[in-house]
């Protein structure tokens, strides 16, 4: 066998190891960085004995059990709702054009930053929010905003609503991506037809014939959102209760407290957070086993329908409701951003002003500049690593091992609150002061999985005969990569770039912790403003947060049309 030893090929061979190292080292170092302080070892504060003070302080914290319960219940229930809604939508629109239309809507919804979504939902459900205004006074009878604690309700209903609405598009999109893989598509479409022809009603056909094949492909995304939601910050911070908040929010507050000794308690909390996330994942696994045991015999019990028409009607209602909520939230944002005086219960402001936009736009140039620079750097690195890793796969003619693939998704599976604080601690120990680079690395951990995931399918589907023809005509591996493969991949590369930028724009915790307050992005500012300042300024920030990723996607859509279309 002839071995190519060009610089390009050597780099390509090295890239998968670099990529895994870049993802693995910060996560592992970060986890180590919370384990040691959790057991009291924090030499920077003169604490060099190993004990359980942190855990004792944590367990004695007022409302600690409520924090755990809130974190567990909101993440589990929201994921459960998101999965059930996804199954209803997929099952009832499986052979309908509507599913395609829904898929087109999902991309833009998915890239709405969590903070922006939380603020928009908060505006919607607040006692003086748009929903209440639309139904007052003619239906509710209220002339004043009712005295209800929404959002920030103590039971976490607002968090569940926020997380469900954010998780639903992700699960749907992941399931649809699996359904479109050629082999799976053929199998599920064929088996769906078999079930229909054997007399099963459409939704029952989906549940009995398609779902058992599809669900294994939904599992990893479901576990990722369970892990994410059990330790998420933005949504519980904006929509959740304060006394006490969820565990992740409390940990963040302790870490940022002026009393540095609280870091020991926070580190212990971060470890408990990891255990809590594992408990959530284990409980989901248990639920899966119960459902499997309960449903296996029902798959072959011969029943052809389980109230299919009712489920279909319910799905129509839920889909409309979700779309209505999204549209209403967007309208609410625009109205608030221009609202002058807006008395309750009027559904439209008494006066429209541009004051809030003017005020926000004065502060924005530097923030937008930092936001874009960090995003471009993180996305550029992620794109380079993903492309070279996928090229390495093709050169080796084998896909990444399942362990290596899992490593790519590791930052999504391990609670970020646990390892990011560890990274800060490690950074302080080794004396790294490069704030911008650290923020870029922090963003890269979360951008990388999405960029890789969105590029992998297209890259692996490339028709290699073109590359072989080019090689046979004397092109070097670099020329084949650059002149043959990249042009064919331009639309997915642009889409992945836009996705990477959007993911980076939405990062809150990595910017806050690794930037140490010296780098502010739109998201960190929006969260800061949402927790205190004017609802109107918040609305302006959220709209800009939505426009920025949208601009990236519009470019990704336009560039191939303008520059890469076939010419006569």
């Amino acid at each position: 066998m002839i071995v190519d030893t060009s610089l390009f090929t050597r780099w390509v061979k090295l890239t998968p190891s670099i990529l895994i190292t870049l993802l693995l080292v910060p996560v592992v170092a970060g986890l180590l960085g919370v384990i040691l302080p959790a057991f009291g070892w924090l030499p920077a504060l003169g604490e060099d004995s190993v004990d359980f003070r942190g855990f004792k302080a944590l367990f004695q914290t007022p409302g600690f059990v409520t924090m755990l319960t809130l974190s567990f219940s909101t993440s589990f229930i929201s994921t459960f709702f998101a999965v059930i809604l996804s199954i209803l939508i997929l099952g009832n629109y499986f052979d309908s054009k509507l599913l395609g239309h829904i898929q087109k809507l999902l991309g833009p919804i998915l890239v709405i930053p969590h903070a922006a979504a939380a603020i928009a939902i908060g505006f919607l459900i607040a006692p003086s929010g748009l929903i209440m205004r639309l139904f007052s006074p003619w239906l509710s009878g209220a002339e004043l905003p009712p005295d209800i604690l929404l959002p920030n309700d103590p039971l976490g209903f607002s968090i569940i609503l926020g997380l469900t609405l954010k998780e639903l598009p992700f699960i749907l999109l992941m399931a649809m991506a699996a359904m479109q893989q050629k082999e799976i598509k053929q199998t599920i479409e064929g088996q769906y037809k078999v079930a229909l022809s054997l007399g099963y009603y459409p939704f029952t056909s989906f549940c009995k014939a398609v779902l058992p094949i599809l669900y294994p492909f939904m599992r990893l995304p479901i576990f990722a959102i369970l892990a994410y939601s059990s330790a998420s910050i933005e949504i519980p911070l904006i929509l959740g209760p304060n006394t006490p908040p969820t565990l992740a929010v409390a940990i963040m507050q302790w870490f940022n407290d002026v009393d540095l000794h609280l870091r020991i308690q926070a580190s212990a909390g971060a470890l408990v957070q990891v255990i809590l996330t594992l408990c959530v994942l284990f409980t989901w696994w248990l639920l899966e086993q119960c459902v499997k045991r309960f449903c296996l015999s029902r798959l072959i019990n011969g029943r052809r329908t389980y109230a299919d028409m009712t489920w279909k009607f319910l799905t129509h209602c839920i889909t409309l409701l979700v779309l209505f909520a999204i549209v209403l939230a967007l309208i609410g944002l625009v109205l608030w951003s221009f609202a002058g005086y807006w008395s309750f219960p009027k559904a439209y402001p008494d006066q429209l002003v541009t004051l809030h936009w003017q005020s926000a736009l004065q502060q924005l140039p530097e923030i937008i500049n930092d936001t874009i620079l960090v995003a471009l750097a993180a996305t550029g690195i992620a794109l380079f690593l993903a492309l070279f890793t996928l090229e390495a796969e093709q050169q080796r003619r084998t896909q990444l091992s399942s362990v290596a693939s899992l490593m790519i998704y590791l930052p999504l599976l391990v609670p970020s609150i646990a390892f990011l604080f560890g990274i800060v601690w490690v950074k302080e120990i080794i004396g790294v002061n490069a704030v911008f680079s650290m923020v870029v690395v922090g963003h890269l951990l979360f951008v990388m999985p999405y960029v890789f995931l969105s590029l992998a399918t297209s890259y692996r589907k490339l028709d290699l005969r073109y590359a072989k023809v080019a090689a046979s005509l004397g092109c070097s591996p670099w020329s084949v990569f650059y002149s043959v493969k990249l042009p064919q991949l331009m639309p997915p590369i642009l889409f992945s770039s836009a996705l990477g930028l959007a993911i980076s724009f939405s990062q809150y915790l990595p910017t806050l912790l690794l930037g140490g307050g010296r780098i502010n992005t739109l998201t960190t500012e929006a969260v800061a403003i949402a927790s205190g300042a004017s609802r109107r300024i918040s609305a302006v920030y959220v709209i800009i947060q939505l426009l920025l990723p949208a601009f990236g996607f519009i470019l990704a859509w336009l560039i191939p049309k303008l520059f890469f279309r076939p010419r006569c």
Partner: protein, 217 residues
């Protein structure tokens, strides 16, 4: 069920693809009869089966009537037509056992009687004792026989066969073909077979329609 109820009639069928006529068809089949549809690729053979099963792709439109036992089922949803499909691939459910796959096709009834029927059916196609096997562990021919049993024990009124023997080697093909046709005739079912292979048409020993001859100018 009275076999006369399984009489199938296709009346003045015109199938259009993107508004241009693909083929026309007008024919009837008696219970137990096997109609063979032949024609080159793209002539509309599989499209005809999609229409018969009520699963026509959105790119196609159809005019005409489909009568089963004298009743117009053109607008009946696919799951209520009692028309079962047997594809080129057996499409067995890998999350179920062999017995589970066959049971999937059966109507709800007492579990014991189901098990007995499945055992008998498996024995009739030389697959005794394979109830608990995973479909993946079976050979191609065995999988084809399990797929056939899944359809037969569903007790449909019509069976549509979409090149079900094309992936089998010649020896297995002949044996499976004989088994399928014998079972169809024994049960007085009406069947439509789509194939490229003349020997399949000869073995079916019924009416043959070549779709390339039914296209209007």
């Amino acid at each position: 069920m009275d076999p006369a109820n399984n009489m199938l009639s296709i009346q003045n069928l015109c199938i259009y693809k993107n508004e241009s006529l693909l083929f026309t068809l007008d024919t009837s089949l008696l219970a137990g009869e096997i109609l063979t549809i032949m024609g080159p690729s793209g002539s509309g053979k599989s499209t005809l089966l999609s229409w018969l099963s009520g699963m026509l792709y959105p790119a196609f439109t159809a005019e005409g009537k489909l009568l089963l036992g004298g009743q117009d089922i053109s607008q009946t949803p696919s799951h209520l037509r009692q028309i079962a499909l047997l594809f080129q691939d057996p499409l067995l459910f890998n999350h179920l056992t062999v017995a589970g796959n066959i049971e999937f096709g059966m109507q709800a009834s007492k579990s014991n009687s189901k098990k007995e029927r499945i055992s008998k059916a498996l024995a009739s196609v030389n697959l005794s004792g394979m109830e608990m096997r995973a479909p993946k562990s079976l050979s191609g021919g065995q999988q084809a026989r399990v797929a056939l049993l899944r359809v037969l024990l569903n007790e449909p009124r019509v069976i549509l066969l979409d090149e079900p023997f094309s992936k089998l080697d010649s020896q297995l093909r002949q044996a499976t073909r004989e088994l399928v046709f014998e079972q169809i005739r024994q049960r007085g079912l009406t069947a439509i077979l789509v194939t490229h292979d003349q020997s399949d048409a000869d073995a079916a020993a019924g009416k043959v329609i070549n779709l390339s001859n039914t296209r209007s100018a």
